[in-house]
Amino acid sequence: MRALLRGLVTLAVLIAGWQALVWATGLPRYLLPGPLAVADAMQRQAPLLWSHGLTTLTEILIGLVAGVALGGVSALLLARFRAARRWLMPLLLVSQAIPVFALAPLLVLWLGYGMASKIAMAVLVIYFPVTTALFDGLRRTDPGWLDLARTMGASPAAILWNIRLPAALPAFWSGVRVAAAVAPIGAVIGEWVGSSSGLGYLMLHANARMQIDLLFAAVLVLGLFAVTLYAAVDAVARRALPWQPDTQPAEDANP
């Protein structure tokens, strides 16, 4: 209840700050619309935002699950096999540096115009933070535990599974948190790859037509997705790691 109230206050202050920015900079509507204009657009175009938002949300969720799964498996492979470290790692790095439009026609050709190509792009964006975070975590196991496991006659696979992986879970969830925050933009980038629905489509469309209030309304919906997703992942992470204390001190000085 109090958390909700606090959230509302936060929101109010953010919106006030936004309005203040609009006033202070005197930016015209087509560069930075005020919150009122955006709220109006949101209300007018609610059904549009809703239907496109649903498409994007589906892509985000599938992309997140697939990206996290793929990233997790990749990190495990990297940690387990030297060969994977040698061949997969550079590939993975280069994959991060390839701009969408170089890949877009290929993706469309292979995956069609449907959701698959958008999800693939979202996965590409999510994949890397998860993989790196988990792999780095897997590389930082307490040596004492590894020694113990070795004297117990554990195979490398058993050590990975029973010791290194659980010990790396906090790092993994940290990566998933990043993934949750970037998943929406991943899906939007995916929608650049040729689509006829989704918030990314709506945004490009609104942008091309200078319906900047609609553009920002869509951005707002997307931001809402990001915040909600992050909060959800954060909650899941806390629940998944009961043994990992959050030592962020509760009491706090004033800035």
Binding site: G144, W145, L148, A149, T151, G153, A158, I163
Partner: protein, 254 residues
């Protein structure tokens, strides 16, 4: 109870192990060279020595965890390599914080891909009971006191059915009474196995050790074995033992 707890006799005959001519340097400092230690089959050897002399390092060499330099050589009575035939209890408890206490005790089985059957779980519970932690099976290690953690580590080591058992100060965090009880538990459970135990407590060594070595100096040398007589666990008020204790302390102080 006791019947259930007395360890199943090791499937293999007792194993004698010798580490000979051991040599190790850490960043230019020669820790020891030409160090030899005999672990007679089925007996408990206790290793004493000043802090930092290299006891843990020697244990780690036996456990295959440290890389000794040539001409170090570890030989076994049956000529087979040691790997996989060791139970090792390190100086830190090394409990896994995400596992319950019961699962920590069963860690060896998990790591060897063996789903612990009900017999193993029963044995783990019985061991936890013996170390005074009955009823805490489902707790996480974070909820334990220092001594309780050490007792879980001891139970985990006793769960391993291995011919060679290496223990590094296994009772250091326990009060005098609990310590006496657990010395007996350990001695019973490990009867017939080859045990090397590092300890700082001369009386403890005298109570349950068959061969006592003191390791001193830098580079460290291994003193000759002291062999208290009588079956373990011995009574510590035996005057013969008290004389040996004085001798041990003298050697330690060298």
């Amino acid at each position: 109870m006791l019947a259930a707890m007395t360890a199943p006799m090791p499937a293999t005959p007792p194993l004698s192990v010798t580490v000979s001519r051991a040599r190790l340097t850490y960043g230019g400092t020669l820790l020891f060279s030409d160090l030899t230690l005999d672990l007679p089959a089925g007996r408990t050897t206790c290793l004493l020595g000043p802090s930092g002399v290299g006891k843990t390092t020697l244990l780690r060499i036996l456990a295959g965890l440290a890389e000794p330099e040539p001409p170090t050589c570890v030989t076994t009575g049956d000529g087979q390599p040691l790997a996989g035939r060791i139970a090792y209890m390190a100086q830190q408890d090394l409990l896994l914080p995400w596992l319950t206490i019961l699962d920590n005790v069963l860690l060896g089985d998990r790591l060897r891909h063996r789903r612990p059957d009900s017999g193993r779980v029963e044995r783990a519970r019985a061991l936890l009971d013996r170390v005074g932690l009955a009823g805490r099976e489902r707790d996480r290690p974070a909820a334990l006191s220092g001594g309780q953690r050490q007792r879980v580590a001891l139970a985990r080591t006793l769960m391993e059915d291995k011919p060679l058992v290496l223990m590094d100060e296994p009772f250091s965090a326990l009060d005098a009474i609990t310590r006496l009880r657990l010395q007996e538990t350990a001695a019973e459970t490990l009867a017939g196995r080859t045990v090397l135990m590092v300890t700082h407590d001369p009386l403890e060594a005298l109570r349950i050790g068959d061969h006592l070595h003191v390791m001193t100096g830098r580079p460290a040398v291994m003193g000759p074995a002291l062999e208290p007589s009588g079956p373990v666990p011995r009574r510590v008020d035996d005057p013969g033992l008290l004389a040996l204790q004085a001798e041990l302390l003298r050697r330690l102080a060298e």
